[in-house]
C-alpha cells in the first residue's frame, strides 16, 4: 500500500524537463541545449548502443522502471521514451 502511494507520488511529479536533463546527462560531449522532447535520439552523433545502456541504467535508478531493447526499437524521440517511463512509474 505504501509502495503504491509512493509510486503515485513519483508519477505526479515526473517532469519532462527533468527527464530531458537526466537523458542528456548520459552523453559526454553533446550539450544540454541540443536536447528537447522532440529530439530524435538516433540523430545525436554520440548515440550508440552503449549510450542506450546508460539510459536504461538512469531510468532504473531515477524512476525504478525497466526499459527493454524493444522499447528503444519502438521509440524515436526523447518524449517517446518519457511516455513509456511515465506510464510505468
Amino acid at each position: 500500500m505504501f509502495l503504491q502511494q509512493n509510486n503515485h507520488f513519483k508519477k505526479s511529479i515526473m517532469d519532462i524537463n527533468d527527464f530531458i536533463k537526466n537523458f542528456a546527462d548520459q552523453f559526454d560531449e553533446t550539450p544540454l541545449e541540443q536536447f528537447s522532447s522532440s529530439t530524435n535520439f538516433r540523430d545525436i552523433d554520440e548515440w550508440d548502443s552503449l549510450t542506450s545502456l546508460s539510459i536504461i541504467a538512469m531510468v532504473d535508478e531515477e524512476y525504478g522502471v525497466k526499459l527493454t531493447g524493444e522499447d528503444f526499437r519502438n521509440s524515436n524521440t526523447i518524449e517517446d521514451i518519457f511516455n513509456l517511463v511515465s506510464s510505468r512509474v
Binding site: L50, L53, G69
Partner: protein, 351 residues
C-alpha cells in the same frame, strides 16, 4: 524465487584451465582499434583466451579436472558423480560428461550428466551436485563448468565476439557432516528467452542450406542463423534489476548482512553492468573480484574462473564466506553462499 538450504556438502577444491591463444580487443583481427576502444572501456574486456580449431570444452575441463584430482590426491575410483555445465558441448549427443567419465578413467558406477545452462549454470550446478551428495547418491563429486563460446559467436559480430572467452573449470565437492549448509536462491523467467539465443540448429529451426548464410544485421554486426544473438539492452536491463534483488533475497533468507560476506563473486557479464549491480547493493569494491579484463565473459565458467584467478591466496588458508551470483541466458539466475576452509585452488593452466 525458490530459497532452500543443502547440508552435509563441502567444497574442497577449484581449478581452471584456459586456451593458450589470446585475442586482444584493441588489436582485433576484424575490428579496428577505433571501433573497439569504446567497447573495451565499457565492457572492461581487454583480451580473451580462445580455443584453437581442435580444442573443445571437454579438453579444457579435462585438464582442469586432472589438475584438481592430482592436487587433492583423490583416488579416481572414489569419484562417483560427474556433472558438466556447458552450453557448448562437444556433440549434440551424447552428453559430454559421459565422454569425460571415460577419458578421466572414472568408474562406470559414476553418475554423469550435462546441464546446459549458461551464466547461472555454476550456481545451478552446485545445487544439483550438492543435492545428489546430500541424498546419499554419491560421496565425492566433480562439477566441471566450461565453455568454448568462440565456437558459437560470429567472428563479425561486434556485439558478441569481443565479449566472450573460453575456459574450463573443475570444482570438487564431498560429503561432510560438519559442512556449513549451502543456501541457494534460484529463479527463471523464460519470457526473456530470446534475449540470448542461437536461433538455428535445434528442432525449432533446423539447420538447412540457408542457416550458414551471413547477413549484415547492422553496422558491425554480421552473423548467420547458427550464431549467438544477444539483445544487449534486454540483458542489461534484466541484469541490473534481477541480480541485486536475487542477492537481497538470499541475504534476507539467510539473515546475513553484506559485512558478513568476505567476497562477492558475480558472473562476469560486462564491467558496466557489474559495476551498476555492485553499486546498487552498496558492496565495498575490495570485496568484489573481476576477471573481465583478462578472460572476458566465459558464461557459466566465470564464477569458478574468477575464484581461481583472484582469490587463490585469500582462500587457501582459513575460513571464508563467498556469495556467488550468476544471471543471464534463459533468462535464469542463481545465488548461493559457499563457506570455504583451507580451500585447495590450483594455478590456472594454459593448454
Amino acid at each position: 524465487m525458490a530459497c532452500f538450504t543443502i547440508p552435509n556438502v563441502k567444497l574442497v577444491g577449484i581449478s581452471a584451465c584456459v586456451p593458450k591463444k589470446v585475442i586482444s580487443n584493441l588489436d582485433h583481427p576484424y575490428f579496428s582499434a577505433e571501433q573497439m576502444t569504446p567497447f573495451v572501456n565499457s565492457t572492461g574486456v581487454n583480451q580473451r583466451h580462445i580455443a584453437s580449431e581442435e580444442q573443445t570444452t571437454a579438453d579444457l575441463c579435462y585438464k582442469a579436472a586432472e589438475d584438481l584430482i592430482t592436487k587433492l590426491g583423490w583416488e579416481k575410483s572414489e569419484i562417483d558423480l560427474l556433472i558438466l555445465v556447458t552450453q557448448t558441448a562437444d556433440y549434440k549427443l551424447p552428453v559430454t560428461s559421459a565422454i569425460l567419465q571415460d577419458r578421466l578413467h572414472l568408474p562406470t558406477s559414476c553418475l554423469a550428466m550435462d546441464i546446459p545452462l549458461g551464466c547461472s549454470g555454476y550456481v545451478y550446478g552446485v545445487s544439483t551436485i550438492a543435492s545428489l551428495i546430500n541424498s546419499g547418491a554419491a560421496r565425492k563429486g566433480l562439477l566441471l563448468v566450461g565453455e568454448t563460446n568462440s565456437k558459437v559467436v560470429s567472428p563479425f559480430d561486434k556485439s558478441t565476439e569481443p565479449l566472450f572467452g573460453d575456459a574450463g573449470t573443475a570444482s570438487a565437492f564431498e560429503y561432510d557432516v560438519n559442512a556449513v549448509p549451502i543456501p541457494f536462491s534460484l529463479g527463471t523467467d523464460g519470457s526473456g528467452y530470446k534475449a540470448i539465443i542461437i536461433p538455428a540448429g535445434g528442432a525449432r529451426n533446423k539447420t538447412d542450406e540457408t542457416s550458414l548464410e551471413f547477413e549484415q544485421v547492422e553496422d558491425g554486426i554480421k552473423r548467420n542463423q547458427c550464431s549467438l544473438v544477444m539483445d544487449g539492452m534486454d540483458v542489461f536491463s534484466f541484469g541490473i534489476s534481477r541480480a541485486p534483488s536475487a542477492v537481497r533475497e538470499l541475504m534476507e533468507y539467510t539473515n546475513q548482512d553484506i559485512e558478513e560476506i568476505d567476497y562477492f563473486v558475480f558472473h562476469q557479464a560486462n564491467l558496466f553492468m557489474n559495476k551498476k549491480i555492485v553499486k546498487k547493493l552498496k558492496i565495498p569494491e575490495e570485496k568484489v573480484p573481476y576477471t573481465l579484463g583478462k578472460y572476458g565473459n566465459t558464461s557459466s565458467a566465470t564464477i569458478p574462473l574468477t575464484i581461481a584467478s583472484e582469490l587463490k591466496d585469500k582462500l587457501s588458508s582459513g575460513r571464508n564466506q563467498l556469495l556467488c551470483c550468476g544471471f543471464g541466458v534463459g533468462l535464469s539466475w542463481g545465488t548461493m553462499v559457499l563457506n570455504t576452509e583451507n580451500l585447495i585452488v590450483t594455478d590456472i593452466t594454459q593448454i
